[in-house]
Symmetry: C2
Subunit: 262 residues, 2 copies
């Protein structure tokens, strides 16, 4: 009898072309699928809680997959870490209910963004932070981030999403609707920058995130920090429901998927 | 009039085939020389305080180089960091006396070695620590390291050094002697392991180190931690003056050149 498994994994995004499997490219989903096949002989495609883009890291991405193999969960953790590259680590495997799906069942997610502020970025940090040593009104940046807490239409902070367009074009509106992607309304529970040592670290928790949403929020907050936007402009940008109103997309290397709640 | 410059630099050793220039390989010395030439037009070979092997990191390697270019030191820092890969960062440039030589003038060096102890090594640490999650008597490891403090012949912990053999064969005994490499006697001022979070961190400071010496010391201490050697064996290994008496060479990725004193 097959079991539905929840796999929690960390990865160094700089080693991959993102989460989603793509022919001829090294992706996390593709690498995990290959290793599962190598261990069990089963051809499966683990479903992630969401895609992460090339360069984006994960402390605890969650994937779900159905396997026939009776291998005990603890052994699967060890066996996967034996065959996976060191840039991906499985931190846990557990058996979950049949209707658990890493993406559909997710109730909240937390992301983090790290900015390194000193003039010279240590070589050991360069893949793991965004280096921004330029003058910044950090107090304004911190205050701007408070304006997005609550339930809002985040269209201004959403990338135009080719996959969504494709799904709509295929007449899969019902599926799209089931996935909750026909609306750009999301609820943000927590949004805060903190100074920790030489870094500015942003933590955001919400019931869901649009494609590029965290990076577009960070890009906009940075515009406030640099004085190109005012703190109160953030609310106006939200109201505009127009991507061109917001700041540019911040670099991928500073972003971490920290946790997914179910 | 040319100036003698002292360059302090950090690098991620996993991106290089060590410090020393080698044809067709990416080395730190070679990369720094190329960048200096690109900026000044001068063909120079910066001399390091010592070679670091492939995979060994540096927080503050020191190099000395003579340049004709009148570029101010602060500007040279900025210009070098513009052209160097992000895996090498120049943290300082200063004008020094004509007789300063990064290797010959060095009075003491400090190295650090990081061991990660938990079962699963985070992907973000894997290039920067040695992962050893196996059972270990950490107290024995810590106590073993105290036995090497003082002035000793470290032949048991020295790699057989092809460069030294080559220099001797070329009849350059006087030069070899001037460099202090005809003797394997070194003085260790400080040698201590500390538990910091999930890591065991070794710090060693001495007036000089033989090739592979820190990694061979660490490999030997690990044998004590694993119970393959006793604490008191360390003194006997020192006395043996025989490389085969000591433990294996520990992995490069855990080792950092932390500072060089003049």
């Amino acid at each position: 009898m097959s079991r539905n498994l929840k796999i929690t994994l960390a990865y160094d995004g700089s080693e991959f072309h993102g989460w989603q499997i793509q022919p001829g490219l090294r992706t996390v989903q593709g690498t995990l699928a290959e290793c599962l096949q190598r261990l069990t002989g089963e051809e499966v495609l683990p479903q992630g809680s969401g895609r992460t883009d090339a360069g984006v890291h994960a402390w605890a991405q969650v994937a779900s997959v159905r396997l026939e193999s009776p291998i005990p969960e603890r052994n699967l953790v060890i066996a996967l870490n034996d065959v996976l590259p060191a840039s991906v680590r499985v931190n846990g495997v557990e058996v979950v209910a049949d209707d658990f799906h890493a993406r559909h069942s997710a109730k909240a997610k937390t992301y983090r963004y790290r900015i390194y502020r000193k003039d010279i970025c240590p070589p050991f940090l360069v893949r793991y932070v965004f280096h921004d040593p330029y003058p910044m009104n950090e107090e304004a940046l911190i205050r701007a981030s408070e304006h997005i807490v609550g339930k809002h239409d985040f269209t201004s902070f959403a990338a135009s999403d080719p996959e969504r367009s494709a799904r709509m074009a295929e007449g899969r509106e019902a599926e799209a609707s089931h996935f909750g992607i026909t609306t750009n309304v999301r609820t943000i529970h927590f949004s805060q920058w903190m100074r920790t040592g030489e870094e500015l670290v942003y933590t955001v928790r919400g019931d869901g995130f649009l494609h590029h949403m965290v990076r577009n929020l960070v890009g906009t907050f940075l515009q406030v920090g640099r004085g190109a936007l005012q703190i109160e402009d953030v609310s106006a940008i939200l109201d505009a429901c127009n991507r061109s109103a917001a700041g540019p997309t911040a670099a991928a290397c500073g972003l971490y998927l920290v946790s997914v709640e179910y």
